[in-house]
C-alpha cells in the first residue's frame, strides 16, 4: 500500500513542476529572440532585447523609480502599521473582528473601485501626478498585508520580555530596539518583504494616480506588451521579477522557519 501511495504522488509532483516551471520557458526564450515565426520551436537568437533594455534611459530610470517608490512605501507602511499589528497580535479587545475587517478592506476591495474616487480627490489636493501621491496611494494597499502578517508574528511573541526589561529600567526606545525588534526580526523582515512586493507590482494604481509623471517598471512593461514587443517585454519581466526572487531566496530561511509559512497569514 505504501508503494501505491508513493506512486500516486508522482503525477501531482510532475504537475507542480510543470505548472510552476514551464511558464518561465517562453519568457526566457522570447527575451533572447530576434524573430520567432510560427511554427519554429526555437527563435533566431539575439541579444537585441537585452542591449535595448540596458541602453534605454526610460527603462533604466523606471527601475530606479520603482525601487524608490517601493522602498518608501514599505518604510511608511511599517511606521503606520507597526503599532496596530502589535495591538492585534498581542491583545484581545472588544470589536477586534470589526477592526480586522476594516484593515483588510484595501486588500479585498478591487483597486479599480477605489482608485477612481482616489484620483478625483488627489487631483483636488494636488497629490496626483506626483511621487508622493503614488507613495501614499500604494501605502493604503500595502497596509493590510503588513499589519495582518505582522500581527500573526506578534501572536507568538511573549510580552513578558518587555515587562521584565521595563522593570529593569529600559525606556520605550530601548525596549523597541533591543527587545521587541530582535525577537520578531525574521517575521518583521517577511512582512516588510510582502509589503514591498505588493507595492512593486502595482500597475493600475500607479497609472491612475501617477499619470505620466511617475513611470515605474510595471508601466514600462504594460506599454511594451501593448506595442507587442515581446522580446523587450520579456527582458523587462525578468529584470522585474529577479530582485523579488533574490529577496525571496535570501529570506527563504525565514519563510520556512518563522515567517509566512509557519506563523503567517494563515493564523490570522
Amino acid at each position: 500500500m505504501a508503494k501505491n501511495r508513493s506512486r500516486s504522488r508522482i503525477p501531482i509532483l510532475v504537475f507542480l513542476y510543470i505548472a510552476i516551471l514551464v511558464p518561465i520557458i517562453p519568457i526566457v526564450m522570447w527575451s533572447f529572440a530576434f524573430r520567432w515565426p510560427y511554427p519554429n520551436l526555437l527563435p533566431t537568437w539575439s541579444t537585441r532585447a537585452w542591449d535595448y533594455v540596458f541602453s534605454q534611459p526610460a527603462i533604466l530610470s523606471s527601475v530606479g523609480t520603482s525601487i524608490v517608490v517601493s522602498t518608501l512605501v514599505t518604510m511608511l507602511t511599517l511606521i503606520i502599521g507597526y503599532s496596530a499589528a502589535k495591538a492585534l497580535g498581542t491583545r484581545e479587545f472588544k470589536g477586534k473582528t470589526t477592526v480586522e475587517i476594516f484593515i483588510l478592506l484595501p486588500a479585498i476591495v478591487p483597486v479599480i473601485s477605489a482608485v477612481m474616487g482616489m484620483q478625483g480627490i488627489f487631483i483636488r489636493i494636488y497629490l496626483s501626478d506626483s511621487l508622493l501621491g503614488v507613495v501614499l496611494a500604494q501605502t493604503v494597499f500595502t497596509l493590510p498585508y503588513l499589519i495582518l502578517g505582522l500581527a500573526a508574528v506578534f501572536k507568538n511573541y511573549n510580552m513578558e520580555y518587555e515587562q521584565v526589561a521595563s522593570t529593569l529600567g529600559a525606556d520605550r526606545w530601548k525596549i523597541l530596539t533591543e527587545v521587541t525588534i530582535p525577537a520578531i526580526f525574521p517575521g518583521l523582515v517577511v512582512s516588510c518583504l510582502f509589503a514591498f512586493v505588493v507595492s512593486w507590482s502595482q500597475y493600475l494604481l500607479t497609472l491612475m494616480i501617477g499619470g505620466a509623471a511617475v513611470n515605474t517598471l510595471p508601466l514600462e512593461l504594460f506599454a511594451l506588451m501593448t506595442s507587442q514587443d515581446y522580446p523587450v517585454a520579456c527582458a523587462v519581466s525578468i529584470i522585474f521579477i529577479l530582485p523579488v526572487l533574490i529577496l525571496l531566496g535570501l529570506t527563504s530561511k525565514f519563510l520556512t522557519t518563522n515567517g509566512v509559512a509557519k506563523g503567517g497569514i494563515n493564523q490570522i
Partner: protein
C-alpha cells in the same frame, strides 16, 4: 511604564485607511449619484444605476467576473489540497519542491499572465509543440485558450498564481499542528479517508477560507490579467468600469462609479459573511480544545 491604550495603537492605521481609502469610496458613491454633476444642475440621481442594471453588457460582465473568480478559486483550492497533501510526505527532493512551490508567490499576476499569453495563444509555444508533434497542421487548429469568450486564459493565469498561495498556507498547517491530531486519529483506528474528512479538512478550513477570500476578491476585481488575456466581449467588470471612466463622454463617468460601487458591495458582503463563518469556526475549535 504605562501601557499604551489599544485604540491609540490602532489609530494611525485606521486614520490612514479612513482618509485615503474610505473617503475615496464615499466620494465614488457621491459621484455615481451625480452629486457633483457639471452637465446638469439636478441633484441626486439614480440614473447611472438604472442605466447599468438594465444593460445586458453589464449583466454579462457581472456574470463573467463572478464565474472567473469562482472557478479559479475552487480549482485553486482543490489543487492546493492535492499538492500540499503530497508534499508533506515527500522526502526526496523536498527542499527543491518546497522552493518551487513558493517560487511564484512574489511574481506579479500579470507576469504570469504574460507567460500564459506566450504559451497558449494559437501561435504560442504550446501550439508550436503540438505542431512539431504532428497533432495539429496549422495554428488555427489550436483551440482558442487566450482571448476566448469563456475566459479560460484568464483562469489559467489566476490558478497558476493562486494554488501555491493557498497551498503554502495549508502545507504549513499540515507540517505543524495537524500532524499530531492525525496520528491520534490513526491510533484510534481511523482510515485515510476518515482522517482526511474528519481531522485534516476541518483543521485546514479556516486557513483555506481566509486565503480563498483574498484570492476570490483578487480574481473578481483584477484589471491587469483580463487586460492582457481577455476577449473583447464579454469584458470583466474592472475593464468595463475603466473604459467607462476614461470614455470621452463624461456622462459615462457616473456609470463607471456605479459599477465600482456594485463591485465594492459584492466583495464587502462576501467578506463579512466569510469572516463571520471564520470566527464561528475558530470558536468551535477553541471550545473543542477547552474540553480536552
Amino acid at each position: 511604564m504605562k501601557e499604551t491604550k489599544t485604540w491609540v495603537m490602532l489609530l494611525p492605521a485606521i486614520l490612514v485607511i479612513s482618509i485615503l481609502f474610505i473617503i475615496p469610496l464615499i466620494y465614488t458613491v457621491l459621484l455615481s449619484l451625480n452629486f457633483f454633476s457639471i452637465t446638469s444642475n439636478q441633484t441626486i440621481s439614480l440614473q447611472a444605476y438604472v442605466n447599468i442594471l438594465t444593460s445586458s453588457t453589464f449583466i454579462d460582465s457581472l456574470v463573467f467576473s463572478l464565474e472567473i473568480a469562482l472557478i479559479s478559486t475552487v480549482a485553486s483550492i482543490l489543487i492546493a489540497i492535492a499538492v500540499s497533501m503530497t508534499l508533506r510526505r515527500t522526502f526526496i527532493g523536498r527542499r527543491l519542491s518546497l522552493f518551487v512551490y513558493q517560487y511564484n508567490i512574489p511574481v506579479p499576476h500579470y507576469v504570469v499572465a504574460i507567460s500564459v499569453l506566450l504559451l497558449f495563444t494559437q501561435t504560442g509555444l504550446v501550439s508550436r509543440w503540438f505542431y512539431a508533434l504532428g497533432l495539429i497542421s496549422s495554428s488555427s487548429e489550436f483551440p482558442m485558450i487566450v482571448f476566448d469568450q469563456n475566459g479560460i486564459g484568464i483562469m489559467i493565469a489566476f490558478i497558476l498564481k493562486f494554488f501555491p498561495f493557498i497551498g503554502i498556507a495549508i502545507l504549513s498547517l499540515l507540517l505543524t499542528t495537524i500532524d499530531d491530531y492525525e496520528q491520534q486519529a490513526a491510533t484510534l483506528g481511523a482510515n485515510r479517508t476518515q482522517r482526511f474528512i474528519h481531522v485534516l479538512l476541518p483543521m485546514m478550513m479556516p486557513s483555506i477560507l481566509f486565503s480563498s477570500i483574498l484570492v476570490f476578491a483578487y480574481a473578481f476585481g483584477s484589471y491587469e490579467v483580463p487586460f492582457l488575456l481577455g476577449a473583447t466581449y464579454p469584458k470583466v467588470l474592472a475593464i468595463l468600469a475603466y473604459q467607462k471612466f476614461t470614455d470621452i463622454d463624461l456622462n459615462s463617468r457616473p456609470e463607471a462609479m456605479a459599477i465600482a460601487n456594485i463591485m465594492t458591495i459584492i466583495i464587502v458582503v462576501l467578506v463579512i459573511i466569510a469572516y463571520l463563518q471564520l470566527n464561528a469556526m475558530n470558536r468551535i475549535r477553541v471550545k473543542q480544545n477547552g474540553e480536552e
